[in-house]
Amino acid sequence: MTEESVKQRIESGLVGSQVQVLDTKGTGDHFSAVVISNEFEGKSLVKRHQMVYATVSDVLTKELHALQLKTYSCKEWKQEN
């Protein structure tokens, strides 16, 4: 998989999200993503990660071996930066 294809999946699954993806090993199967979405507001980390995992469920644990995640609501992202 490519960084772009992972990014597109997450963005189309979580409408309005902003996503940055990195191929951490350069092998096309381990990725790290930062996902910013208003949908995360008020949700637990477990719930947030489940929401992102759901957007790649057909490839996760197959072509996509690992997806490290950092999730922020828009409000948290502003506070962080």
């Binding site: 980390l45 990660h49 489940q50 995992y53 469920s57 997806l67 490290q68 995640l69």
Partner: protein, 104 residues
């Protein structure tokens, strides 16, 4: 007892349990290894289950927890998260509170 019942029983009866690749003495994956390091930093007692021993464990576990990846940390019967969440909760100090309530 089916495997799925066994998993749910283990999660219920162990206040802290980690499903991982390898064992706490010999993790077989970087993410599981990170999880073990975090557990060690907290000095918390926990049961480890090696999902590599039987591929079906992972299938049944993920179906139950709605969590596709390994490792998975459960405290008091609830999914705390995988490696990233454990790191985040460790850094925020939240994990210490979660472990302090383990078994209570």
């Amino acid at each position: 007892m089916t495997l799925s019942e066994q998993i749910q029983d283990d999660i219920k009866s162990n206040s802290v349990i980690v499903y991982m690749k390898g064992t706490k003495l010999m993790p077989m994956c970087g993410f599981s290894s990170t999880m073990v390091n975090i557990m060690n930093m907290h000095g918390v007692e926990y049961k480890d289950v090696n999902v590599l021993e039987d591929p079906e464990i992972r299938v049944q576990l993920s179906a139950f927890s709605n969590w596709p990846t390994i490792p998975q940390l459960f405290v008091n019967g609830e999914l705390v998260g995988g490696c990233d969440i454990a790191i985040e909760l460790h850094n925020s100090g939240e994990l210490e509170k979660i472990f302090a309530n383990a078994g209570k």
